[in-house]
């Protein structure tokens, strides 16, 4: 079970969180013309990469905040975590 540092609450076990997928995906702006390809990339296409991955988790049984977690998908090592509005450098 992973041990995730919620930027709002501190270290908490994985069973307090739910997974939210790739954090690098940006939703196209509302009311903007979007090509089929752009939309498919947004809705369906994911890299599913091995290695360092920026992903979303929600602290669902805690503060309910969505957070960003930088994790290695192969080793499960967590490097950093960020608040939803924090810039990832």
């Amino acid at each position: 079970m992973l041990y995730i540092n919620c930027p709002h609450c501190g270290m908490r076990s994985q069973n307090e969180f739910s997974y939210g997928g790739d954090a690098s995906v940006k939703r196209p702006e509302l009311n903007k013309e979007v090509s089929d390809q752009e939309w498919d990339d947004f809705v369906y296409n994911r890299k599913s990469l091995r290695g360092k991955h920026l992903e979303l988790w929600q602290h669902i049984s805690g503060c309910r905040q969505w957070i960003k977690v930088e994790r290695d998908t192969a080793t499960h090592e967590i490097f950093r975590t960020f608040k939803a509005d924090e810039e990832v450098a």
Binding site: M1, Y3, S13, V34, V43, Q58, I60, Q65, A84
Partner: protein
């Protein structure tokens, strides 16, 4: 029967407490502190079962967790448990155990015919033989294999034992209480660190219980007892025996199974049987020691052949002799220690040492005691069927290829030592890439992966002095990092005998003309010849060899067999062992009861049970409940002998004729507040929300980004910046997360707050033509006329002094209202509605009537919004705004979603107006078409229409829009039904929707 193999005044068992127990129906006696194995051996019982594949007689091979043979079926307090190691099971008064793998009895076993058939079951036998013909599998092969094989029988009864889970955090977790674990724990505890020390055996001390050493002028055991006693007094230390750390998971999470009650005749009141600990440790010290490995020779699975360390443990811990004429077969000094213990207790052993001329203090001691030592000698084969009777021995050449003339010597046990294998399972599970250490012919942990350090014998260090030094230091250093204390501990002086180099020898060659089985894996009956076959057939990867031969795949996970298997593969392949590599160690290290893993979450406790505030009223009024997600809801209120069909029909009819009341508390409710609340709703729902006035409700549908309907419900504008959103019961949690996602991540600029209020409000739906009359009586001071409270209107009212919210919304299709009050007043509200409603012939109605009412009205619910349908499919396209953008809108342009023959909701009526159509039935054109019959759609929901008194169903049907009036067949192979049907409009009752507005 007396314990003829027990010697007086030796061992740690309690001679004052005699215990009786039964094995295979026969009564024996042992002592408190015995294991089942030691008690049986004290009584001279060596035959305990039959092997897995060949049904060869099985005895005891080890004395603990490494035991591959001695697996029994245990009976305790009316329960039975399979797969129990006799070497681990502590004796208690009245214990009963039986052999497994034998039929009809352990002494006469039909399956042993496998052994005498000339054709042994070689590697891959099951793969090769039982594959063809396919039809034989279920009828012949599987029943045969099931009867013949297996390690016991799981109980089919409900398990009355209780199992607990516990979460714990500590600075330092220590796996194993041998010298290394005790030293590490003591040093860390003295520095104030929070320490958990776990020992899988009942007794602490590990190797110190049996080794002949001195620490700080005390015997090793006394030193260990002293340390444990002191640790137990320290508030920062948890000391646990009977507790096996069996898994090392991510982020230093380890799981430990504590056997709380297995050593007792029955579990004490309020105690669990087992407790599973999830431990998050800052640092982990692995001091799991090492396991002696066997040397491979002919018939080395005969009862009476066992590890020399086990023989020593039975003697020193339990005061039990495993034989009176022992042969000790060794390639290192450990065998001598066992022989010395035998000799000290009046038994004359013979030592066969594969080494030519070894010299050490230990060997000198054996010589001084006058023990018969034969150098460059090996056991070629054990003789005897159910018990060792003699040993074929021979001298061996220095290159270990040539055997001398075979001699036969009488003996009753063969104690074998092929040196020591560090127990690296936990380190390996942690992700540590292990490395091969040539000096000890075994793998040891390499670079630490997580915060773990492996010390002592588990790290391939067999000197006590060095183990204590490194472990005290590690305990101090690791704890200093955490507590910043630095209490120096004097390392005690150690007296131990120095040993000499072991012989790199692991397998006795076959003598010419002999065809002995030489076993590598004792539990799965994998012999040298099986591995040879696998390699001859082209298997190369050790992982493949393992699966093909089942080497190391049994419940003992190859604790005694892995390394010898690797040695064999490396020899045949002409590679070094590290190049062959070892198979992956996976948790659990030892078998763990399913009960312990499940914990308390069984039966009713497997999920929370949520009840509405009106639950006790429902109970008192004969409600039959149904699980709705985590909620319990009344399905119908039973009157007399009514069944579900009759009861729900009565309730639904009463709604259509008079008035009914339904508990709708379970609906999800979300408060949406803030100046941008309308904008959020406008983006989340498919329809327009910017112009909804205060005091009005609106029905809305929300989509996922892929265009699929996520949920539906009404949302009411309570005040300027305050909306009350409702969701379906099932989707309440998901919808809240969904809103939070967009507010926090996608549109953080929106000034809106959302919070669940599901539990804050109790809800009652009042539906039927007389509902307005009832409402007026409930709220005499409010104007609830069609003008005062029109369809989709909202007002607050005073319900006999209780503040209530009144929504004019309808799911039943009738004139209807929903009244909400704060949860604490829910029951009050309900009773008032029933009381006042009496004159209007009110009846409560359950979920079944609720479904009937919505189905015949063509209102969609979860069975249509099933995660596969878009608004069009549910005839909801009228709610999809063309002007504004919203979540999922762009997906609705996908070609499949705008196809001409897109699936759509329809009504379905059986032609005979009699036969109910099972939900899930397929709609097909031709009921006689060959399988697979092309499916045009499926029945999503069925009811008995109370309006027309015939069956009616909803279906999602391909090209549904153009199918009205068509005749099809509803086929349900599960129910073996083929029903001719006609497709009709989904709005079966009141298609213009006049009633809700009346």
């Amino acid at each position: 029967m007396t314990q003829t193999f027990r010697i007086e005044n030796v061992g740690l068992v309690n001679r004052d407490k005699k215990l009786s127990f039964k094995f295979n129906g026969k009564t024996y006696y042992g002592y408190e502190g015995d294991t089942l194995a030691s008690a049986l051996l004290a009584n001279g019982v060596h035959l305990i079962g039959r092997s897995f594949k060949y049904h060869r007689p099985r005895g005891f091979f080890g004395a603990g967790v490494d035991e591959p043979y001695a697996i029994v079926q245990l009976f305790r307090n009316g329960e039975t448990e399979p797969n129990i190691k006799a070497t681990e099971q502590e004796l208690f008064e009245g214990l009963e155990a039986k052999s497994v793998n034998c039929w009809p009895s352990v002494n006469f076993d039909i399956g042993a015919i496998n052994n005498f058939l000339k054709i042994f079951l070689p590697a891959g036998f099951y793969y090769k033989t039982f594959m063809w013909p396919k039809s034989f599998w279920y009828r012949i092969y599987e029943p045969f294999i099931r009867k013949a094989a297996g390690l016991g029988v799981a109980s089919t009864k409900h398990d009355n034992e209780r199992y607990e889970h516990k979460y714990e955090y500590c600075d330092l977790l220590i796996a194993g209480s041998g010298p290394s674990g005790l030293a590490g724990a003591y040093a860390a505890a003295k520095n104030g660190a929070k320490v958990i020390l776990a020992e899988d055996k009942p007794r602490f001390g590990g190797s110190l219980l049996t080794s002949d050493v001195n620490i700080g002028n005390q015997s090793g055991k006394d030193w260990a007892d002293g340390i444990v006693a002191e640790l137990k007094t320290m508030p920062n230390v948890v000391v646990k025996n009977r507790s096996q750390i069996f898994g090392y998971y991510d982020h230093n999470m380890l799981v430990m199974s504590e056997k709380v009650s297995d050593h007792l005749p029955s579990t004490k009141k309020y105690h669990p049987n087992k407790r599973l600990w999830y431990i998050r440790a800052k640092e982990v010290l692995i001091s799991s020691g090492s396991i002696e490995r066997p040397i491979v020779f002919g018939n080395n699975d005969t009862p009476g052949v066992m590890l020399s360390s086990a023989a020593k443990e039975y003697l020193k811990v339990y005061g039990v002799l495993v034989g009176r004429k022992p042969v000790v077969f060794t390639n290192n000094d450990s065998g001598y220690e066992t022989a010395i213990e035998f000799k000290k207790h009046g038994v004359d052993p013979v030592i066969l040492d594969s080494r030519k001329n070894p010299e050490s203090e230990i060997i000198d001691e054996a010589k001084n005691l006058g023990i018969n030592i034969k150098n460059s000698y090996v056991v070629v084969a054990a003789q005897g069927y159910k018990k060792v009777k003699s040993a074929d021995i021979a001298s061996i050449s220095e290159d270990k290829k040539q055997l001398g003339k075979i001699e036969n010597i009488q003996c009753d046990c063969i104690c074998v030592s092929g040196f020591w294998t560090p127990t690296i399972h936990l380190a390996s599970q942690s992700g540590n890439k292990t490395k091969f250490k040539d000096e000890i012919d075994a793998f040891v942990p390499g670079q630490s992966k997580q915060n773990e350090i492996t010390l002592g014998a588990a790290n391939g260090v067999f000197s006590l002095e060095e183990t204590l030094k490194t472990s005290f230091t590690a305990g101090s250093e690791l704890s200093k990092k955490i507590t910043e204390n630095d209490n120096k501990i004097a390392i005690p002086n150690v007296v131990e005998k120095k040993s000499s180099q072991h012989d790199k020898f692991w397998c006795v060659p076959l003598p010419k003309g002999k065809n002995y089985k030489r076993f590598l894996d004792f539990q799965n009956d994998v012999a040298v010849s099986d591995v040879e076959i696998a390699l001859r057939e082209g298997y190369r990867s050790i992982e493949h060899v393992k699966r093909y031969t089942t080497l190391g795949m049994a419940t003992d996970q190859g604790k005694t067999s892995n390394l010898n298997g690797l040695q064999l593969v490396s020899e045949i392949e002409n590679k070094v062992v590290p190049a062959v590599g070892h198979t992956t160690f996976r948790p659990p290290y030892t078998p763990v009861s399913i009960g312990a893993i499940v914990g308390r979450e069984v039966g009713k406790h497997s999920k929370p049970t949520r009840k509405s505030p009106m639950h006790s009223w429902h109970e008192k009024n004969n409600a039959v409940f149904v699980d709705a997600g985590v909620w319990l809801r009344p399905r119908y209120y039973k009157r007399g002998n009514e069944n579900l069909f009759e009861g729900s029909k009565r309730e639904a009819k009463n709604v259509r004729m008079n008035v009914g009341v339904c508990d709708v508390t379970t609906l999800g409710k979300i408060d949406v507040k803030g100046p941008d609340a309308a904008e959020l709703l406008n983006r989340v729902y498919t329809n327009s929300w910017l112009k909804l006035p205060v005091g009005k409700a609106r029905y809305g549908v929300m989509l996922r980004e892929d265009g699929i309907v996520m949920d539906d419900g009404t949302t009411t504008r309570i005040s300027e910046n305050h909306y009350h959103m409702t969701t379906t019961t099932a989707q309440a949690a998901n919808v809240l997360s969904h809103l939070e996602y967009y507010l926090q991540l996608v549109w953080p600029e929106l000034n809106v707050n959302v919070v669940s209020t599901t539990e804050q409000w109790a809800g009652a739906a009042i539906a039927g033509p007389k509902s307005r009359d009832l409402l007026q009586k409930l709220f005499p001071n409010s104007d609830v006329s069609n003008e005062g409270l029109p369809f989709m209107g909202y007002m607050e009212g005073d319900l006999f002094g209780v503040k209530a919210r009144i929504y004019r919304i309808s799911f039943s299709g009738e004139l209807a209202y929903e009244v909400n009050v704060e949860s604490d007043y829910g029951n009050f509200m309900w009773e008032k509605i029933i009381e006042v409603g009496e004159e209007f012939n009110i009846q409560p109605y359950g979920t079944e009537a609720l479904s009937t009412l919505r189905i015949e009205m063509g209102h969609v619910a979860g069975s249509e919004l099933d995660g596969r349908t878009i608004p069009f499919d549910n005839a909801l396209e009228g709610l999809v705004s063309k002007k504004k953008d919203f979540i999922g809108k762009r997906s609705l342009q996908r070609s499949a979603f705008i196809a001409e023959d897109r699936q759509r909701i329809v009504g379905v009526v059986p032609l005979d107006k009699q036969t109910s159509i099972p939900e899930g039935s397929h709609l097909v054109k031709d009921d006689k078409a060959p399988l697979p019959n092309p499916k045009l759609g499926h029945i999503s929901a069925s009811c008995w229409s109370v309006e027309y008194d015939n069956p009616f169903s909803l279906a999602i049907l391909k090209d549904g829009k153009n199918m009205i009036g068509q005749k099809l067949f509803a086929m349900s192979p599960l129910k073996n039904k083929v029903i001719p049907v006609e497709i009709v409009s989904s709005h079966y009752v009141d298609p213009k929707g006049e009633r809700v507005r009346s």
